[in-house]
């Protein structure tokens, strides 16, 4: 009855969360219904389903998700934060001063989270379109269900204000992602084969939970805004820091296994982006530049350098397109990690912040936004190159540009964005980082410039080896190679192209408000205690 009464005033972010979560259970419910029906009749279980209604249902949910997340984003003030509290009187957005109500805030949405949710919704829609067009691995009930579960989990991560709720949504997205990679495990042999995978994921979840419990035990709250105003760095807090950050960093770097399905790879990229979002929240919004964390920036810079170095080695002589895409993604992750280190070091003093700190954070957020569309474009192209032909796989041939021109162009565009070549949108994102890194040491700037140049050369050589030259006999017989990913690639191209020709708009509408809300450490709580309302 209470739930029924609270339905009419349900806020948009809550609806945004409930929609994919509820939709994920619909295919599962249908599956159970069919199973019970077969069991009742005593017949063998066959889950036959008409694909058309399933596809329509899937696309309607993804479209509704875009519209809702867009409404949430556009409804936010620049750099503002909104609370959504469910109490006995229904939904409200106000809190009284001095009350412990903040702890009970169901959702806490800021511009960074709202923008991320919208961006993710768009890319999920694009991935959904690609999944529907895929003829090699057609859409089925479990695939739709796992896609939507992952989507709901990630949506929740972007709208969460507490560490416990973050844990809950990370767990949901992990269930969805594991299901997408390996499906439903039915045999003991398969389970044994994947034992180490499950152990590592369970360990990651348990580590995050341990960090959350340590903070709750010490402060009786896990709300990030509240914690940021009262946290003092002791042994417990340091331990919690490591427990919270390490599993998410791992999930960010190793977001997926070897998968040749483009749409699934895009969902794993979404998940990697969400994992880094949680790290941002913990590092910048929760802890910030506390005394005692001075060595953390150096560690992030070191990890970034290692990732860039490893990615250059992995791409140098790689032939397999999916592995190549993974290695290029690793390069982007290295840059992100490094920019995070410089950003943290730039927030310790006002002078450092003014000189390079804010520039580094803006660069970090800009690269973080671009990570998803570029890795999605790479995934689609590289999975297209994995298609079977009469004589091996497509990437084993030459002269493919005439057969898959769109893939070739999208690959080139994505690489230029990743390498930060002007005038592509990666350039404004990276120039802040180059400037900031020179404050740490000019050697770092030179390393970054040289590595960007190397990744560009390696990638251009890779794509020209496949696309140009005399077409092989089997390559001549390839038909409509990139027709399946044509619409998704065009949509990604539109986003990247639009950001390229209007870099100011990209920075001002997406990056700057996100940076402001990311650094809006505890100001919401202070405003409540001083003024009375969340507004």
């Amino acid at each position: 009855m209470f739930l029924y009464r609270s339905l009419p005033g349900i806020p948009l972010p809550v609806l945004c969360l409930l929609l994919p979560l509820a939709a994920a259970f619909v295919p599962f419910g249908f599956f159970l219904y069919k199973k019970i029906k077969c069991w009742h009749k005593g017949a063998d279980f066959v889950c036959d389903i008409n694909l058309r209604p399933l596809k329509i249902f899937f696309i309607v949910v993804l479209t509704a998700n875009i519209i809702l997340s867009w409404s949430v984003w556009t409804g936010m003030d620049k750099g503002g934060t909104e609370l959504f509290v469910l109490s006995s009187g229904g939904w409200s957005q106000t809190l009284s001063p001095g009350s412990p109500m903040l702890i009970k805030a169901v959702l806490q949405v800021d511009v960074f989270g709202a923008m991320s949710a919208f961006l993710m919704g768009c890319v999920a829609f694009i991935a959904g379109l690609a999944a529907m067009a895929d003829k090699n691995d057609t859409l089925n009930l479990s695939k739709v269900s796992f896609f939507l579960t992952t989507l709901a989990g990630i949506q929740g991560i972007f709208y969460s204000g507490g560490i416990f709720s973050l844990f809950f949504f990370i767990l949901i997205s992990q269930i969805g992602a594991s299901g997408l990679i390996y499906g439903i495990i039915k045999t003991k042999e398969k389970f044994r084969e994947l034992l180490w995978y499950y152990i590592s994921r369970i360990t990651a979840m348990l580590m995050f939970l341990t960090g959350s419990i340590i903070l709750y035990y010490n402060y009786r709250t896990t709300n990030i805004a509240v914690l940021s105003t009262i946290i003092k760095l002791g042994t417990n807090e340091k331990l919690a820091y490591a427990f919270l950050v390490v599993p998410l960093l791992f999930l960010f770097v190793k977001s997926s296994s070897y998968v040749t399905d483009g749409s699934k790879r895009v969902f794993f990229a979404i998940r990697a982006q969400a994992a880094l979002f949680v790290v941002f929240r913990i590092v910048f919004s929760l802890y910030g530049p506390l005394p005692g964390l001075e060595k953390i920036p150096n560690l992030f810079i070191l990890l970034g350098l290692v990732l860039i170095f490893v990615s250059l080695i992995l791409t140098a002589n790689e032939k397999d397109p999916v592995k190549f895409a993974e290695a290029v993604e690793l390069f982007m992750k290295g840059f992100l990690m490094l920019s995070m280190g410089i950003s943290i070091s730039g927030t310790y003093t006002a002078q450092a912040a003014a000189e390079y700190g804010f520039g580094a954070i803006e660069s970090m957020v800009a690269m973080w936004i671009l990570f998803l569309p570029t890795s999605a474009a790479l995934s689609f192209v590289c999975c297209t190159l994995k298609q079977q032909t009469e004589d091996g796989e497509m990437w084993q041939h030459t002269g493919l540009f005439r057969k898959i021109p769109l893939s070739g162009a999208a690959f080139f565009f994505a690489i230029c964005v990743i390498a930060g070549i002007p005038p592509f949108v990666g350039f404004p994102a990276k120039q802040f980082l180059y400037r900031s890194s020179s404050y740490v040491t000019p050697l770092l700037t030179i390393f970054l410039l040289v590595s960007a140049m190397l990744i560009l050369l390696i990638s251009v050589r890779y794509i020209s080896r496949v696309m140009f030259g005399k077409p092989t006999e089997a390559a001549e017989k390839v038909r409509n190679g990139d027709i399946q990913v044509m619409i998704p690639l065009i949509m990604l191209f539109v986003f990247l192209f639009y950001s390229t020709i209007t870099p100011s708009l990209f920075i001002n509408s997406m990056v700057s408000p996100s940076v402001y809300s990311l650094l809006n450490k505890g100001q919401l709580v202070n405003a409540i205690h001083q003024g009375g309302n969340s507004e």
Binding site: W196, Y197, I199, S200, T203, A204, M207, T235, K238, Y241, A242, V245, V246, P247, L249, F250, V253, K254, G292, L293, E294, K295, I296, N298, L299, L303, V310, I313, L314, A316, N317, F358, G359, E362, I421, P422, P423, F427, P428, Q431, F432, M453, I501, T502, P503, S504, I507, N508, V511, S512, P513, V515, Y516
Partner: protein
Amino acid sequence: MIPTLETGYFIWNFTAWIKIFLLSAVIFCFLIYVIKKKTGGNLISSKKMREYGEDQDEVISEQRTAMLRSKIMGPWFDFPFLHLLSMVLLFLLFAVALFSGSGVE
């Protein structure tokens, strides 16, 4: 093209940065041209290329990179418990950065 790039904190001269990059690209292209001319069409000197045979696709640096990947990095990537190991390693690194006393004041 927009000449300046304004953010919440800085205003950048966008065209000036592009000029710097284009100048770097021109210098880079010129260097490549000179190297190619001196080594008879190859980035590796013709003398070294003869040592490894003319019909070889991969130059020495690529062979070394491939060896580094297959002999040193490959076995690590094949470990079934690599994910767990990397998490433990990451945790240790963070523990050292958080709890070690010496170094930064």
